[in-house]
Assembly symmetry: D2
Homo-oligomer: 264 residues x 4
């Protein structure tokens, strides 16, 4: 009897690309709030969501992952990955939500866990300046005055450059926030005639628990989206750039709420 | 109105990780037939398939991909990838079929197209000796006497080493063959209580068309599976090693046949 | 007694990053001839060379490497690499030579062998369309009508895009040709006060033997250099683009001629 | 007039692979002290050094780099890299020194700076568990009880696994320490007949300044060297494993002391 939360399935289930939930995460996060053109935000919202505002946020995160056994962080070749998330604002039944039109990650296990949650993950190369516990020209500090850069490159073309200089503590996280994201879960059919009729297509709301957030610092930021011959992130080019943030956080995922079945 | 065969969806559909079929492929393939333990083959077959024999085959392929527009091969950073496929034999309703317990690839788009077809793709680092149109100590030839190596490494651990020395033309392709594979399409649920009840779980049969095969050469081979702390490919360690093969081929995919719904 | 042609040295010498010569190479090569601004060519020539013409050539090569033992191609994870070479024209004591202002490669062993020959190698991500022995939308052919793309990306920023459509056989290789290159061998000092006084600085001429060239095809080409915040290849932006070429070749290197000691 | 501390040289010198010193570094370091066989240590010492003891140390470091301008950390795709260093003990003219038989890094600029200092750098894939400012199953802490793993893989084969569990503050750094390393600077000749007569071969002593060290924590460790078909690090397989350490540090390099010319 084959077992496995995802493919591949084996008698033990151990080979499954994504392990069974719960999934525990810890991340160092650099974020930049920005406003995009309202038309672009409207155009990228699914029809089940209404326009709320032009507020967007770009995140660059260095993650570590663990299951309940918790040994994965000791094999960092398997449990570390980097991610770049872009969120826009929307309204679902009158409630403010975040929606993710684009996200890039650099690891297969994270891509699979992401698809299951409706994150539209693709592969990219993400880099974020590290903070160190010492001072020096090469050592950025998680402290007022500390400067951090981040970049996203997809299929060998630079797509995004970001820069944040921390100035002061912040009582709140940036908005839109991925903790409250509403996503699309989509798995297509390949049988001829069914290419437009997905096997699975639903609006879902993320659920996370045991969220912890470390000290949040905030400051000024720059954010630049490069033109790209195919990728459409530049639709969201910043019109106004807001605050930059840096913080660490941890959370656990083992649940998801389905809001609507979107198949006709 | 958002469009896209897969996520991410946008107004144009251009950003979709996997483009709409048809999908055109060309590949240079190194293959090694082998026999695994019958118990291992039985253990890795889904319950809808019966044991046929201990015949297995390992493939190492350098692919190029195109849609109908056909321009992708001119952007090889986007359209090239490498893949390592392991096939076992099975019977479905009395007919000999191939089943894929394990497959590794090095590109996100291929991973997504693979999941849609039921290939249990994960990421790996695959290398295959190249053939050249000249002679020399560094230049392997697609000709009798030509030697080719291949390796698969997953999460920074070597998993497979293969070696083929070509001796003579072959009238036939190796068996089991991925053209006739029966796969599992599986997409899990994350809602609490549903982790064991996938949203989609079906037995499917691959369909390909416009298959072309170049000159097939055959010879002797070695194949070695390294132990691994987590991955279960070593269950299929070769008991007997058969012939090695090298050939080029092309095919198109835009259809799939569902054989059984496997949800209870 | 430690041995090794390069570091690291060990009792056996086996661990040396670059093995002892001779070095045997085989490559599939895509090339585009172009003319740059004469001022840029003059500015990039070392003072020991005079200006000859604005003729330049860009090469994109998929290499395989072997020593005399010749087993390296069977471990392609070790012996394969890709390279992008840019050559300009010069005169040395009245003789036409090629000079390499910029070259990128994706492997450490090749970088080390290159530095020893005076190639100014840095790391880049290089992709080149593959030719296949079959036809199809995804299968480029080494034949009239075959189209091939190539790209170079350095530190996550696209630097070069090239495109060649083959039209006809060519009796000759592109010019300038790396077989006749004159290079600078440079190894700096780090002791304070000596940063401008290299330990080694000489003008050298490459020597290769046992050169073999397969069928050369030629056609039209495009070549584009992207702007870059730091790298200076864009100085050589094509003013006129000449022919594109594709061919396979093999050669052996185990000698070098020193032309001048350039230390004051 | 071409300029550049290393190749490639250009009119501005900006393209030089390694920039002119000073070089500023910051690093997060995981280290494991161990004892190797005295015969192995003797065999790997250059003849200018005498045997001191079988004490060795393995380091795994995540670096960030800056020049005097100091902007490099804001472009982490260029300034971040990871490194795995193995040091053995020796005596030079009666003084205890460290000597580096093997070191792996994942970036070209670091490899070049390393060769200039006599570090025998090669390319490898290095991973080290991250510490986070929050708690959780996925979040290791730089605190007593915190566990950290590290791995080194070279040319797609796992070479080293390490594991450290922190227990208490340590007043001292591990030994041997790379700050006091004695290295070999070696640059070979390629001219026929001179393959055994390097252009440059000298014993050097590293110099660093402005060294800062953050809180040092210490605990128990495991360290495992995998067999490898070519690489000789396994000569130094741990006989006894000592303490594990974790700390951050920063330093500046712009000088080097030549101890002996080793050319005959």
């Amino acid at each position: 009897m084959l077992q496995g939360y995802t493919l591949p399935q084996t008698p033990t289930g151990r080979s499954s690309l994504a392990p069974r939930p719960p999934w525990h995460y810890a991340g160092d996060c650099l974020a930049v709030e920005f406003e995009a053109s309202p038309q672009a935000v409207r155009a990228l919202l699914p029809s089940a969501l209404e326009f709320e505002s032009e507020h967007c946020c770009a995140y660059f995160i260095e993650w570590q992952f663990a299951t309940d056994d918790g040994d994965e962080p000791l094999e960092p070749a398997t449990s570390q990955y980097k991610e770049s998330i872009f969120l826009i604002s929307g309204l679902f039944r009158g409630e403010k939500v975040a929606f993710c039109p684009f996200i890039w990650v650099d690891q297969d296990v994270s891509l699979m866990r992401g698809l299951i949650q409706g994150w539209p993950k693709q592969f990219g190369s993400i880099w974020v300046t590290h903070a160190y516990a010492v001072a020096g020209k090469a050592a950025s500090r998680h402290a007022p005055g500390g400067s951090f850069g981040a970049s996203l490159t997809v299929k060998d073309r630079r797509l995004v450059d970001a820069l944040v200089t921390l100035r002061e503590p912040s009582p709140s996280l940036p908005w839109p926030s991925f903790a409250k994201a509403v996503n699309l879960r989509l798995f297509p059919n390949l049988a001829r005639g069914l290419h437009d009729k997905p096997a699975l297509f639903e609006l879902v709301r993320l659920k996370s628990r045991d969220v912890q957030v470390g000290p949040i610092l905030k400051g000024e930021a720059t954010l630049y989206f490069h033109d790209h011959p195919r990728l459409e992130l530049p639709l969201l080019k910043p019109v106004t750039i807001g605050a930059g943030y840096r913080f660490s956080f941890a959370l656990t995922v083992d649940d998801l709420e389905t809001l609507m079945d979107l198949r006709e």
